[in-house]
């Protein structure tokens, strides 16, 4: 709860991840909000709600929030075993930010996230330096949003120095959209 930037788009999107919940109270007329179609939802029904909603309802005791499968115990063990081969984009596009938000619930999250982050960011830095080749393509496609942003920043920094070395730091190039439209 503490690490939220209210206006940060990535934070908002990260909070959209669904977590499984168990309803504690009978709710009338809200059946269409969950995965059922009925208009009355009973106690102990299971729902998948977005995290931001589930968190508030959990505090008000309307639902019992459970740990999302992204950070279940089994998943955490998998993350600890092989951080570099995980397909973060498939698992959860805003993996790190979602983890930061869930941090209150699951105490192993900082450890898991730190492990993942340090190992993967080293690989990201190496890819940025050596340029993308075929083997790196799989890894690049498995990065989540924060990591792709990091990759782009690294590549920009690299190209800044090499451009400047070739005296092209101020070069004006035709925008891609313009040249595509002209041809």
């Amino acid at each position: 709860m503490a690490r939220r930037n209210y206006y940060d788009i990535d934070d908002i999107l990260a909070g959209q991840e669904r977590v499984p919940c168990v309803l504690r109270a009978d709710l009338d007329g809200l059946g269409s909000a969950g995965s059922g179609g009925a208009s009355k939802v009973h106690r102990n029904a299971r729902w998948a709600l977005p995290y931001w909603m589930a968190d508030r309802l959990n505090e008000e005791d309307y639902v019992d929030m459970e740990v999302s499968p992204v950070f279940s115990k089994r998943a955490n063990r998998m993350y600890a075993a092989s951080p570099e081969s995980m397909q973060l984009r498939a698992i959860c596009q805003h993996y790190y930010q979602f983890g930061l938000q869930l941090g209150d619930m699951v105490p192993e999250i900082p450890h898991v996230l730190r492990n993942m982050y340090v190992q993967r960011v080293i690989k990201v830095a190496r890819i940025a330096q050596q340029g993308q080749n075929v083997e790196a393509l799989d890894f690049v496609q498995s990065l989540d949003k924060t990591e792709t942003r990091m990759l782009k920043l690294c590549q920009q920094a690299q190209s800044a120095i090499s451009d400047w070395h070739k005296n092209q730091a101020y070069a004006l190039k035709r925008a891609a959209a313009v040249s595509a439209a002209g041809s």
């Binding site: 503490a2 690490r3 790190y96 930061l100 941090g103 209150d104 105490p107 192993e108 999250i109 900082p110 450890h111 996230l113 730190r114 492990n115 982050y117 340090v118 960011v121 080293i122 830095a125 190496r126 330096q129 924060t146 942003r149 990091m150 920043l153 690294c154 920009q156 920094a157 690299q158 800044a160 120095i161 451009d163 400047w164 070395h165 005296n167 730091a169 101020y170």
Partner: protein, 211 residues
Amino acid sequence: MAITTRQTEGFTMPELEYMAQHESITIVPLHRMDRIELVRGTVGPFRPPQKTTVPLWLAIMLKRTNRCRIVAPKWLSYEHLRDLCKREEQPDAMFTRLPTHYLEIAHMLLTYAEDDFVDTQAVRRLLQDLREVRQSKTHEGLRMLNSLQLQMDNLSAAEINEIRPLFRHSFDMLRQLDGLAEATEESQQQSQFADQSFAEMDDAFGSKYVH
């Protein structure tokens, strides 16, 4: 005002070049000139063929109008750079001492004052090698990242600027993770939840994040 992403993440290379131009360099003026008082200091009387020290921007300007000859700084010679390269390539060596703006100064001098150097191609090659070795060392340093402090001596301004976005975001992320870990630790100590995994986490944090 519109700013590009590159400008928010640190300095741009032309900005660094501008800042590097304040460094002093020795020249041999070709024309006589009296003392000039500028805002940042006095540029002394030019009495050729005596050598004088001027800021780099003035040296470049004079050179482009053919009014001086530039004396290469001591560290920009083939022999010195070769020694530095050898020392740098030794395993577990720290970064060698180089002027803070060595990349920019070297670039400007090699672009504008080529005839004042002995063998520019070799010097360029050596500079490239030096830069690559230092870059691989900064990547090693990334491995030692923790949320408190990372000390890398003798990095030049351009190199720091290059790694600034990556390291800054990594520091932020690690600090956030640490804050989260502390918060959960405190709340855990108040409950009777003493898991085995929690004890392992304690050990991991106690041993300074060495994986």
